[in-house]
Amino acid sequence: MYKYDTYDQTLVDARVADFGDQVARRLSGEMTEDQFKPLRLMNGLYLQLHAYMLRVAIPYGTLDSRQMRMLGSIARDYDRGYGHFTTRQNLQFNWIKLEDTPEILAKLATVEMHAIQTSGNCIRNISSDQYAGAAADEVGDPRPWAELLRQWSSFHPEFSYLPRKFKIAVIGAEQDRAAIQLHDIGLQMRRDDAGELGFRVLVGGGMGRTPMIGSVIRDFIPAADLLSYVEACLRVYNRYGRRDNIYKARIKILVHELGAPEYARQVEEEWTHVKTLGLDPPQAEYDRIAAFFAPPAFAEGLPTEIDRSDAGFAHWVDQNTAAHKAAGYAIVTVSLKPTGGIPGDATADQIDLIADLAERYSFDEMRITHSQNVVLPHVQRQDLRAIWDALVAAGLATANLDLVTDIIACPGLDYCSLANARSIPVAQKITERFADPDRQRDIGELKLKISGCINACGHHHAGHIGILGVDRKGEENYQLSFGGSAAEDTSIAKIIGPGFSEDGVVDAVEKAVETYRGLREPGERFLDTYRRVGLQPFKAAIYGDAGSTTPVREPVA
């Protein structure tokens, strides 16, 4: 893991003082809320439905036990004993007092953490593959590049007042676990014909009210030129991105309106100039950072066989562990999606327990996933049973990774001042409806994602099944969509028809799942069957035969 040097520490400490000063000026009335808002957002502080909410950055989702325990301790001392892991691999606290934030940030800084640029119209936390450095299918480790991008983007003087927020993801594997095609910039490591390391660059993907899949604007940028090239991408956006309409301000709209080839041409032209400015750090800086991500000292000659006589344990191993590149090791995903629970929430005690397990069994390292779970990346297979036992005792052993109950949900109207409907109760009811583990396993991979408004923080556009909560005449209503994906086969889900009540949408999901079970061919996931047979059989099952002629309700704009 990356460790701060005195430069990094000094900068984060300076930010703590800076924000403390800003908070004091707000509390004294020197600043209005309108002036303070962009400053607090750039430090991850929102004013939500019930309180201030503080979003803490977990760069590319990686943290150690000391940092994790600090999150637990803040949850206990300043919040209400829990935290919420987000789809940007961060953590947010829901019950924060403005007057406490300088102290909280000072505590975070003691463990090399901060809330810098976790919101606002700036470059957000760089996200990455939760299996980085452990997966068997990597061209290279994306984390050193994510760290380089983190440093480059922190307090960037030119790009702190962009037209809109800006999200960058970087991966090093063929399999896409970070949704790069749905990012403002997606970077995929690859090698060119000469074996040189570089990146494929996608621009203009995103969800929100106008979901779009990113376009490849350059098939290969040499790694040594990455930062100057990204700088050129951002400069074109900062100058020409729309500022007349907040709903058209993301870079996807600029790329869409110009056309990807024209946007790419403008970037190349800007880059011809920008690359002469000496913005790219030398190889020595990359080497310095990469050394922190050297593979840990994996033991050799470990047993790979495990005792599978306990069926519950065996199911968990099959569902929640993935192949590791080192023999005798596994990647463990700790599910934060218990039946009837709140997706992504963890209590302070659970946070501490996961930290203990990481320290003892996983080289003191954890990853947060964009589907709101926690990964122990380097676990010896012979330790899996001990880990499972500890997780069972803490209510964290739900064996549902990538199954129908592994739901992504935004906080929705229970917490969020932008929401139109609640998301969490829908997730709770669906997990209760599909609680039977045998039934879930039989259904197989099914990514269900719920957003409480059109901003799509719950990624409903990218769900095999997506649910969007809307406000229909003051009442919560839920639209169902099918066919989305955030993986390497990225697609945008389509709305299937008129919306439902909260209970109605749970019933409709169940009908869709049963329709799939009736139609599937061997090996097909829900998504595959849907793509093969189309919407009609699902619509007929959900709305009845009459429903198949019901006009499709367009999303509320």
């Binding site: 509390l27 009335g29 004013l47 939500q48 019930h50 007057e99 229970d414 917490y415 609640r422 109760p425």
Partner: protein
């Protein structure tokens, strides 16, 4: 009726205008008639409230009930954490019209 709500600047707590100050309890809210924007502007300037705004509400036997579900949740707390609510008795899903007709809230009301 119209009632005035906002959040405490330092704590972020949701507050309701009582006619002479700010309360954490919805049922202390009073009808502000047309005076809401003026009270809001003065109180915000004095830093006694942050981001105040006027909402529609209905007077019920319990007290004023916001017309919109968002403000009922603001008053009650998150429906998924009833223990954190300060007004657990507020029937979040019961609309003002259902109140007036003394109808029951929809069955899916959480344990609050």
């Amino acid at each position: 009726m119209k009632i005035l709500t906002g959040q405490d600047l330092a704590s972020g707590d949701v507050t309701w205008w009582t006619g002479s100050g700010w309360s954490l309890h919805l049922f202390d809210a009073v009808d502000v008639g047309d005076a809401g924007p003026a009270i809001a502007a003065a109180e915000e300037k004095a830093l006694r409230v942050n981001v105040p705004y006027v909402i529609d509400a209905t007077q019920t036997a319990d007290g004023p009930m916001p017309a919109h579900i968002k403000d009922r949740i603001r008053a009650a707390g998150p429906t998924v954490h009833p223990a954190f609510g300060i007004h657990p008795e507020i029937p979040i899903l019961k609309t003002p019209a259902q109140h007036e007709n003394n109808a029951d809230a929809p069955s899916e009301v959480k344990a609050n």
